[in-house]
Symmetry: C2
């Protein structure tokens, strides 16, 4: 396994981690100050800053954009809704290319309003990714399917295991891979096997921690080391599968980290990255 | 598939559904009033009533006890803790027998305090069930492993898929089966396959619904029909596998159903059982 303390350049900040108190330009400058060399920004933050301005700032500071958050949200109640989702994903691909991002993260979407057909939603996801792939593949932008924890199956993502994401990759061919976020997959008894199966398809490795108790289903993620996930074990599996790239820190924490001074957050992220992950 | 409206006798009430406002004797009398012929009581309610008194009341009203809630909680930080859990489970077996229960439901437990070793916790679960099985099997009481939703992996149950529960049954042999609760498994892409694999091992089928949004990870379950679970589809799979017994309603709902008059709750349960499940 890699010694992360010797590779500070492999730390990436998902910008959601400090989004409540800093704009994207402030985040970019903060990363430069704290020696963080890669970021994964969100579309709404980029839109607020302006795409060209964001791209220029990122270049000026020499940051990598290891992932762009996010495409997906494919299932819809009717054909018009599905077409709109695909069109929006194609725009996300274009933005990712403009930013020099290395992949587009896909949070695939849950059940359409009023639906109880999760198998149907999963078919819509596969069709939607295939349509976006037609636009992304010729331009060399990879799509990263991120399985989300099963507690988000209804409203955020009906791809809930790495096995499912691997199956989608098998069906869809080149240009699509997976993002492994420990928060979403740590519980999965098939995780080691499916990480090995994913192999070189792994396009991202995201970390935070699962708190006990967890008081909010969306916004109560923990800082690495404050919860129960054995992050080094999972990172070992990911690296054994051939992954040799960034460790991206993504913490949604309305009650704790989002309340703190972002400079303190980034310092803690750097320390925990080196000592815990 | 069975027509539930023609089989009111197959409705079972998990007593947690009305536990906030009724004691066990009140629940038993309420079930008799509403024509509910089976219950699944909890240990703390039985203890509050007294084991012999509870058994007598249940007999007096001619109720079936299709399951007893619950054993499990095996993993512990040290050997003394694990032994205490096994001893407590053996007492639960004895109580289940005294009540004439048809199985003991197992919620297997999560990570021991301070542990990040989920694989180790899962080994402890298997060892614990094996030890309890030595006590239950000769007396003819079946143990039902209930996989819990992955959001409970840390603190309630590290058996999170029906595949895992089936694997445990394969390893442990006769006398142990599974309980399928739609709330815990509805999201699982392998569900249909694993239900077929479970076959005659299915000892219980539990229903409620997954609300969108879900505002509490433990106490915000919905009444059947108010959420996104396709209950008849899953019941069809369970019956195709050979299950022909009770449909047990178990709703933890601090903000809604627990606030209501239990007579209204039981009437709604009966209606939804017949019209939705």
């Amino acid at each position: 396994m890699r010694d992360l303390a010797a590779h500070p350049d492999l730390l990436s900040l998902n910008t959601a981690t400090v989004r409540e108190r800093w704009t994207l330009p402030q985040i970019i400058e903060g990363c430069a100050r704290h020696g963080i060399r890669a970021i994964a920004p969100w579309r709404d933050q980029v839109a607020a800053c302006g795409l060209e301005a964001a791209a220029r700032l990122i270049r000026t500071h020499g940051l990598r954009v290891n992932g762009y958050c996010r495409g997906g949200m494919f299932p819809a109640a009717d054909a018009a809704g599905r077409a709109a989702a695909i069109a929006d994903n194609r725009r996300a691909v274009d933005e990712a290319l403009a930013l020099g991002a290395e992949c587009l993260i896909l949070v695939v979407g849950g059940l359409p309003a009023g639906s109880r057909d999760i198998a149907g939603a999963r078919r819509q996801v596969q069709d939607g990714i295939a349509a976006v792939l037609d636009h992304a593949r010729p331009q060399g932008l990879k799509l990263a399917i991120e399985p989300l924890h099963p507690m988000y199956a209804a409203d955020r993502a009906c791809v809930n295991t790495l096995a499912q994401a691997n199956d989608l990759c098998d069906a869809l061919g080149d240009g699509v891979g997976v993002a492994v976020d420990v928060y979403h997959v740590w519980w999965d008894p098939a995780l080691e096997r499916e990480i090995a199966r994913a192999g070189r398809r792994i396009l991202g490795f995201h970390v935070c921690d699962w708190l006990v108790p967890t008081t909010d289903m969306l916004l109560d993620r923990g800082m690495m080391g404050d919860g129960v996930i054995d992050i080094p074990r999972i990172r070992g599996w990911v690296e054994a599968a051939g992954y040799a790239d960034c460790v991206e820190v993504e913490i949604f924490s309305a009650r704790n980290w989002w309340q703190r001074d972002p400079d303190e957050v980034l310092q803690t992220v750097r320390e925990r990255y080196a000592s815990v992950c």
